[in-house]
């Protein structure tokens, strides 16, 4: 498609630029080669003309915040933005039918990603909306009989804010602390469940520290105590295996723009109102994810990792702090000169 070709040309231009580069996989890297004279602080003319030329942008590593749109996703979306623009709910004509067919295909794809039935997928505007719907929806639905919810202190802000607004409505919320590893204590969770608990919400993978919560075990606990289990899986979907049936997840929030999809358009909430049989899963080991972004082939990942390791080692050897640590000096004890 046109855009993919354009990106390939840009990638070629980057690799052709002067600079020490072995055959680097640069598919889709949005770099523009900068070639204008560097500014010097000492002369007075430090203003840069707006058209001074393209600038090298910093490497993007904040992948946990959001991801760039994958060209293949854009390719898949474009026809429905340009040609096949019917409303999927227009039942009476071909434009509507073809859009509906596409939407159902997307629904099926999401469902198979998480082991759910397509009828259990709902599209919303984002994981934030999904979290709000799940938490406030379940809480208010059972308001007459159950007034207690459980969540963790390390949840995403939208989850914590939803809980806070429910507290203002008269609900009671327990915010479970996490251990040093970042993972909740399952015994504390069990102890916190009361007869009037309607929902437990624990995110699958934390967006700031990357720890994986023991979702299968939490699902088992919730299912045995007849409490609904919601998980914010925005950071986990597509990255670790998930099965909503095996893990006894009742509600799950997913975020499209964390997995190279568009922002604000296609996010999914999964709802399930039945209990399922549990199959055991091993307890997840915490790990810290280092976002290296949209490098998706093994070759690209290996290359990026090698580069990172190489440069980090070099910088470490150049660092006086590392030298002091190796000599056994406690860095906290040093009085630094102010500047």
């Amino acid at each position: 498609m046109l855009l993919r070709a354009a990106w390939r040309r840009a990638a070629v231009a980057v690799t052709a630029a002067p600079g020490p580069k072995p055959a680097a996989p640069t598919r889709g890297l949005r770099l523009r080669v900068g070639d204008h004279a560097p500014q010097s602080a000492v002369p007075a003319d430090t203003t840069v003309a707006p058209e001074a030329g393209p600038v090298l942008r910093p490497l993007y590593m904040d992948v946990q915040a959001t991801t760039p749109l994958d060209p293949r996703v854009l390719d898949a979306m474009l026809p429905y933005l340009i040609n096949y623009y019917g409303n999927p709910h227009s039942r009476t004509h071909a434009y509507g039918w073809e859009s509906e067919a596409a939407m159902e295909r997307a629904r099926q794809q999401v469902a198979s990603l998480i082991g759910a039935d397509p009828r259990e997928i709902i599209f919303t505007s984002g994981a934030t909306e999904s979290n709000n719907i799940a938490i406030k929806g379940v809480a208010r639905f059972y308001r007459s009989r159950k007034k207690h919810l459980i969540t963790t202190q390390t949840e995403h802000k939208c989850v914590l804010d939803s809980c806070r607004s429910l507290e203002a409505e008269g609900f009671q919320v327990t915010y479970l602390p996490v251990q040093k590893s970042g993972i909740i204590d399952l015994k504390e969770l069990e102890a916190a469940i009361q007869p009037d608990t309607s929902l437990v919400s624990v995110m699958t993978v934390n967006n700031e520290i990357g720890v994986k919560q023991p979702i299968a075990e939490i699902g088992q606990i919730c299912s045995s105590r007849k409490v609904y289990f919601h998980t914010d899986a925005a950071q986990a979907v597509g990255k670790i295996p998930l099965d909503v049936n095996d893990m006894k997840i009742d509600l799950m929030s997913i975020s499209g723009h964390k997995i190279y999809g568009p922002k604000g358009c296609v996010i999914w909430v999964y709802t399930l109102w039945n209990a399922r049989a549990l199959m055991g899963s091993h307890s997840p080991v915490p790990f810290f994810r280092f976002g290296i972004g949209r490098f998706t082939t093994e070759e690209e990942v290996d290359y990026t990792v090698e580069k990172c390791i190489q440069h980090v080692k070099r910088l470490r050897e150049m660092s006086p702090l590392w030298e002091m640590v190796q000599d056994g000096i406690d860095l906290k004890s040093i009085k630094w000169t102010q500047h």
């Binding site: 602080a41 050897e317 660092s319 500047h339």
Partner: protein
């Protein structure tokens, strides 16, 4: 691999010092002929350690540096070690941060790196001078 300091291009000189730094390493800080300067703070993002070795005639014969910081900080301290070599202790005091900044074409946002390099030189010289006074023989850890 090219680093970008935010949206500012690194000059070729800075890139050169980053890719091929001169005089990275350490001298024996317990030696009487070695002056060690440690300036900056991790919280500020730049820490420089600069060491000079001085012969009996007062001439700097060797210099080493280690820096934790951005490309401009590494380049400034690398250049500083190049410049102090061969100078006497008095001559080295005349090295100014503006000279370093001009040589490396540092943009305004990176001027503090050259200032820190000048501080590092001065700190190393001060430490060396301190060691030459027999009564106050203890090199203070800053």
């Amino acid at each position: 691999m090219v680093l970008t300091d935010m949206s500012v291009d690194l000059s070729t000189q800075v890139v050169d010092h980053y890719e091929n730094p001169r005089n990275v390493g350490s001298l024996d800080k317990t030696s009487k002929n070695v002056g060690t300067g440690l300036v900056g703070a991790p919280a500020c993002g730049d820490v420089m350690k600069l060491q000079i070795q001085v012969d009996e005639k007062g001439k700097i014969v060797d210099a080493r540096f280690k820096t934790f910081g951005c490309g401009s900080a590494i380049a400034s301290s690398s250049l500083a070690t190049e410049w102090v070599k061969g100078k006497t202790v008095e001559e080295a005091l005349t090295i100014k941060n503006t000279d370093i900044a001009k040589e490396l074409c540092l943009p305004p946002v990176k001027l503090h790196c050259s200032m820190l390099a000048e501080d590092a030189i001065k700190a190393a010289l001060a430490d060396y001078k301190l060691k030459q006074e027999p009564k106050k023989g203890e090199a203070e850890k800053k």
